[in-house]
Amino acid sequence: MLKRVLVLAASVLPLMGSPASLSSATDPVPAVVAPSPLRISPAFYKQSIIDIFGPSIDVEGRFEPEEREEGLMAVGARKVSVTDAGLELYDDIARGIAAQVVDEKRRTALIPCKPQSATAADDACARTFVTQTGRLVFRRPLTEQEIATKVKLAGEAATTLKDFYAGLGAILGDMLIAPDFLFRHRAIEPDPAKPGEYRLDGYSKAAQLAAFLWNSAPDDMLLTAAATGELHTADGLRRQVDRMASSPALESGVRSFFADMLGFADFETLAKDPMFFPAYTIKAKGQTQEQTLRTIVDHLIIRQGDYRDLFTTPRTFLTRSLAALYNVPLVELADNGQPDRWIPFTYPEDDPRAGILSQASFVALHSPSGRSSPTLRGKALRENILCQRVPPPPGDVQFNIVQDTSNPLYKTARQRLTAHSTSPACAGCHKITDPIGLSLENFDSSGAWRINENGAEIDTNAELNGVKFNGAAGLAKVIRNDAALTGCVTRRVYAFGVGAQPPRNDEWKAIEKKFADSKYNFPGLMRQVALSSMFFALPSTQETAK
């Protein structure tokens, strides 16, 4: 099996890094190139499988690591490939999915036809499966040659194994490790409305829309719209975008965007010392991300709230485990032994723990395992929330004072950082990060509330861009009103959808204005971005060369 996988990898990987184009050799050389293919994210992979085969399919296994660029994995996706080891991981996952799809309890629902015999090849039924399922998996119709090849392979496997469904499982497994599935290609074609110019083809547009708004593969209606050319017309595009924006699947897109923007992939390697932070259980760790995503979905989609109020809203959702971490009561009247349930929770007025920055998904994610870090929190806030760059520390920096939380001379993080940043090499950057991060010092490394550190009272007075404030509640209000906040999320939304930064043109300024005019309605922003001409714009060869 491994040998077969590696042979496959060797045959397809060289194609992945080059600009994809469906242009034939006789077409004129385009003045633009197709944008780089984007490797699909683990979240996209899982959601696609759910949408194609249903939620009963378990997607089990580790994925190849992603790479963050310009603040988003979605941007880094254009530069990542699949390594040999990564292909093995994908292959394991794919075989597991394929086995579930064709197993006895699911095949009736998931295989669109019944073979003449379950123990022999059946080309007609295999063709039906390949044609219908392949269209959803590859996000485009398969060519006749692709169909014929896969039907032949399915038949050979079925004959060898005396099992029709094993044959289907084999080709489905192959499809799920094919570059057409693992990478979202963006193919270009001549634009008939603008002779001499090129555009993304309909299926690439459909795939980009679905990835952006639903974090998934296009559904049948979207693929049909791609086939009919509907997505190339303004009205047709609007119809589809409005349909998608009003679909419950929008929640998946919003979740995916914020999980990326807030850096939740880093939870995979996050650990806390259980002796210091016993309330930070495995269960709580898994739930902290979900708490924030539920808060976001509730505020932005259900309540259609102002994006800025995400940072001050007292509304959230908790489980009993998370409530214990935060030391708040949460009553669950279900029977003993029931799994943790999400329960709406509202903090009292003026409680310092309002807003998503006070949640463990932020304060715990940006803290080392044994202590809090105003520096990391401040850096994350600048970079992830305000789109501001913080330079990395010099290579020879000494962290001993900061890391020694038992030094009786420096009981609090403020005292340790003050001592540390007396070095001129450190002082510059710490001025950027620490004043903000110190306002969150009432949260320990696990996200639990505290008033003292090592017996000393914690001082949470802080400052951002000359505005002085106190504590997490003060920070939330200052961040909410910071002009950089909305500009940042607007640019990140575009970059998430396109895989590149937005141009600074009039159309972009109009999008920013509409966002402000809508009182920062987030689904509205996604809709505007999806409908903009920039969303499907092609980079010129000159821009690409740069």
Binding site: K272, P274, M275, F277, P278, A279, Y280, T281, I282, R320, S321, A323, A324, N327, V328, P329, L330, V331, E332, L333, D335, N336, G337, I343, P344, F345, T346, Y347, P348, D350, D351, P352, W449, I451
Partner: protein, 382 residues
């Protein structure tokens, strides 16, 4: 805040033994909530040689060897069987051992008919110290001395089991098999709650202690202990509802002559906790947890039943049965004169918790729930 550290195991006078029950966050008319995070027979065995000079009981291996020899197995065969569970004679030997009671001339289960087996005559504890209280108000030769308070103690359960290997422990170490079985059940069996109410728990004065069963099992923390500050719902059944009047004195919470206590439990550890003439002594620990001792008279046969019912106990069950029977010190049967109750002490530990009644109303909060957290009592849900 002064807290209770591990106590010097020599005699500790009352005044120096314990610490303030609560000194932080003084609050008026408050109710603090806890769930019992560990519960077991109170042990104190720092000086095993002093407690058990003959040291003749041994543990599971010694007990099995004795039994097999009594059944007629040769020395070397008995050793081979004990050392090798797959020994060809092991199955037969175990069956013989467990059915060596003789009833109507036929072999019968020793667990069902313990008195149909001769008394192995285990060594009883003859040491000076045991945790507990003066339950009968009398001085007699069987009294122990409490290592924390220096007061005399009625604890005949300790006399009965103090020389057996399962109970060779001293807090914070836990008796192995009771610890094992507690941990087997704690992740699934509903727990017990404890509420302490008073006008000002930071000061000495009268308090009310309420014990109940809760509807949920306890949740563990990342280190394997019991999670602090979790919210639990109190079982509304009156069956396990207990109220006691107590007093905080010199920082220690005391309940004296508290009447009867009953908490329904789960097999196979404690199917019930039932005490008469309940006494309690509880102190607060450095980490906001509380720990202490509950004492009173319990039905010794019920204790043996619980002991036997555990999946493992590692001891001579019949020996334990007879040791308790001989040591029982209260409630004589009017016909036989055999005492049916035995003075006993449990050790309890509890962690802070939010407690709600069945309507969802929060009725107790952890001591650590300081401002602004206290305002949250009415803010859950929507």
């Amino acid at each position: 805040m002064v807290v209770r550290k591990r106590v010097n195991r020599s005699v500790a006078p009352l005044a120096a033994a314990v610490a303030l029950f609560l000194a932080a966050n003084p609050a008026k008319a408050e109710t603090q909530g806890y769930v019992i995070s560990w519960f077991a027979t109170a042990t104190y065995n720092l000086d095993f040689k002093g407690n058990c000079p003959e040291d003749r009981n041994g543990g599971q291996i010694a007990y099995r060897l004795r039994t097999l020899k009594q059944l007629g197995y040769a020395d070397d065969v008995a050793k081979a069987i004990v050392q090798d569970e797959e020994h060809p004679l092991a199955k037969e030997a175990n069956l013989k051992a467990e059915t060596r009671a003789v009833v109507n001339g036929k072999p019968a289960s020793i667990y069902n008919y313990p008195e149909a087996v001769p008394d192995p005559n285990l060594e009883l504890s003859s040491g000076k110290y045991a945790y507990g209280f003066d339950l009968d108000g009398k001085t007699n030769p069987n009294d122990f001395e409490d290592p924390d308070t220096g007061l005399k103690v009625d604890n005949q359960l300790w006399r009965a089991v103090g020389c057996t290997e399962s109970f060779t422990a001293t807090p914070p170490d836990k008796p192995y098999y009771e610890d094992l079985t507690w941990n087997l059940m704690v992740d699934s069996a509903p727990g017990w709650s404890l509420r302490i109410s008073g006008e000002d728990l930071s000061k000495d004065g009268p308090v009310k202690i309420v014990l109940d069963r809760i509807t949920q099992h306890l949740d563990r923390n990342a280190a394997g202990g019991i999670l602090h500050n979790m919210t639990y719902v109190i079982d509304p059944s009156p069956r396990s509802h207990n109220e006691f009047n107590g007093e905080i004195k010199d920082g220690v919470l005391w309940v004296k002559k508290g009447g009867n206590l009953y908490l329904e439990g789960e097999m196979p550890y404690h199917h019930e906790i039932a005490l008469e003439n309940t006494h309690m002594r509880i102190t607060r620990q450095e980490n906001q947890e509380i720990a202490g001792y509950w004492s009173g008279y319990l039905n010794w046969k019920n204790w043996v039943y619980m002991y036997t019912a555990r999946p493992v106990n590692g001891e001579d069950t019949i020996g334990i049965y007879y040791a308790l029977k001989k040591s029982a010190d209260a409630d004589p049967d009017p016909k036989t004169g055999q005492n049916r109750m035995i003075s006993a002490t449990w050790r309890m530990e509890a962690v802070p918790a939010y407690l709600a009644d069945i309507s969802g109303k929060i009725v107790a909060t952890p001591a650590s729930a300081s401002q602004p957290l206290q305002k949250l009592a009415d803010s859950s849900g929507e």
